[in-house]
Amino acid sequence: MFYRESGVFKTSYAADTALMPLPNTRIGAALAGVIFLAVLPMVFGEYGMSICNLILIAIVGAIGLNILVGYTDQVSLGHGAFMSVGAYAAANLVVRMDMPFWVAIPAGGVMAAFIGTLVGIPSLRIKGLYLAITTLAAQLIIEWTINHVPAISGGAQSTILMPPPEVFGVVLKFQWQIYFFLMVFVIIAMVGAANLIRSRIGRAFIAIRDQDIAAEIIGINIARYKLYAFAISSFYAGVAGVLYTYYLGIANYEQFQLTVSIDFLAMIIIGGLGSPLGPVFGAIFVTLLPILVRRFLETFGGYFMDYSTLAATIPSLRLAIFGSLIIFFLVVEPEGLNRLWRKVRNYFRTWPFSY
């Protein structure tokens, strides 16, 4: 992130602190913008866009978790629950008080940040395994509470119907409309995280990750910054939760169970811990995996098994592939997809005269 390229000269502080200092990066970002904002919505139909929307929501959540796990090195197995906190806070606001989305989304995020900070308090005394188990406990307790307190969820096993968001008088009904709606939040989330990481707060996070005692000695208030990390990370999770309920049209605690937390951890590990683009790659990969497995089996599976066994096979096959991929990436490529991307990028960066 702090690289200096030969031949690119900075003549002002503004140029020096630019988010994308290299012309290559800017061209790449512009290209990605064109593809995601213009080409994709034209190419895909309603179903394709709905998958893209799932990916966008996953990206927001994964970026948030990456701030906590990748940059601050605190473990959280409770992000599914933080998402549900945001989702239910927003759903209640929207349904009971008829709030617009621009109130509901930040409110869901703030509520999740509050609960996330509470859950983060034990991180001041414990770390590593103990923290992992504490957040696991938080996941289960939040899940149970939401399901069993009628004031939040409307009674055990029930769902809250969430009306679609209304932007400037337009009710977003089609997937492509929701796509652009979500895209705004994804861009805010990505730019926000990128700026956070190179600011004072982000560098404090990285210092805590790399050597917590040394960080304290150079004057970082560890307790405060760990809680910041939890708050910011669960704010992202809460926003992702609200977006997800808008996307689904319902809030149901079953959408936010432990497997969701694990999916998000898998995303950032497969994508690459502590890298700006890692969560994006991971979110795309993990979201597409079950869909591709199902597609593949539905297309080719009919040749060697009948349809009913096929339907039973898909979830288990997905689970098995998912598990093996996590192990594979941890053992073989701990820096994840982001490292593959860096290799490709560096090849072209120095092309044709690599040295």
């Binding site: 473990v75 034990p122 395994l129 188990i133 307790i141 039973a312 096979t313 098995a320 996590i326 941890l330």
Partner: protein, 298 residues
């Protein structure tokens, strides 16, 4: 009415104690690995299911019960050896999230692969005991639970003896307490890591047979593994006795909570109360009741 309540409570406590004994057996598998290798096994419940599946499949092919249990034990030992060699040895010295995620990935893999190869249905794993409950005064004792608690007790005593009295057990304790010094004393640390995993394999195999007999073997069985964490945190992560006491406490608390609160709040207290208890313990005494108190600056 008060007499009836007493009987109800007594029933809950005894069944809680027996279930707790069986929790202790699974928790022991977790503690053994953590003590020796500092690795955290989030797949303990899946190990139990895998072992139960091995035994159930062997019984289905009309092998005698004892042979099925031996097959499960041998299979789990082989599996754990392989796991240690192929995956966990590569992760030595990596951040804690790596090991946590590796075992979570392993859990998903075991769950998916076992359903793929053996089908999603519930398999019965009948213990060779009668189904009729035993009555001890007013208390009803299901034989399956009694056998489970008994086997757990025998093995917990056996492991205590192993750690305190045998050469291998003492060597394992040395590895657990300080790897570098153990290496300096001529102990083959790698071999004891593998041994710790093998022991976990044995314990999981027994746990799998017992829990499989009680609940039936299917992909819900790994949920038992979620109870391991409150048990080990309560007892102390590196203490065998802690696993037993923690298991008993969690078993009783959970049975009482389920008996008295479930009707009030609509179920599910069983999965919730142990974790609440765990959080309280973590706040007050993070190293657990019997755990080694590690002073660590955070």
């Amino acid at each position: 009415m008060s007499e009836f309540d007493l009987q109800f409570t007594l029933l809950l406590v005894t069944s809680g104690l027996m279930i707790g004994m069986m929790y202790a057996l699974i928790a022991l598998g977790f503690v053994l690995v953590y003590k020796a290798t500092d690795a955290i096994n989030f797949a303990q419940g899946e190990f139990v299911m895998l072992a139960g599946l091995m035994a159930a499949v062997s019984i289905d092919t009309s092998l005698p019960f004892i042979v099925a249990v031996l097959i499960a034990i041998a299979g789990m030992i082989a599996f754990c050896f392989g796991l240690e060699r192929v995956v966990l040895r590569q992760l030595l010295g990596r951040p804690i999230i790596a090991v946590v995620m590796a075992t979570i990935g392993l859990a998903a893999l075991i769950r998916g692969a076992s359903t793929l190869s053996f089908g999603p249905g519930v398999r019965a794993l009948p213990l060779p005991v009668s189904d009729d409950p035993l009555f001890l005064g007013p208390i009803m004792l299901p034989p399956v639970q009694m056998v489970g608690a008994g086997v757990s007790l025998v093995f917990l005593l056996g492991f205590t003896w192993f750690f305190l009295k045998t050469r291998m057990g003492v060597a394992m304790q040395a590895v657990a307490s300080n790897q570098t010094v153990a290496m300096g004393m001529g102990i083959n640390v790698q071999r004891y890591f593998a041994l710790a995993w093998a022991l976990t394999g044995i314990v999981s195999a027994l746990g799998g047979v017992i829990w499989g007999a009680m609940l039936g073997v299917d992909n819900q069985l790994p949920l038992v593994g979620l109870k391991v964490f409150p048990v080990v945190i309560l007892g102390g992560l590196d203490s065998v006795i802690g696993a037993v006491v923690g298991g008993l406490i969690i078993g009783v608390v959970e049975a009482l909570a389920a008996g008295y609160f479930d009707p009030l709040v609509g179920g599910g207290t069983k999965d919730f109360v142990p974790y609440l208890l765990m959080i309280i313990v973590l706040m007050v005494r993070p190293y657990g009741l019997f755990g080694k108190r590690k002073i660590q600056r955070i």
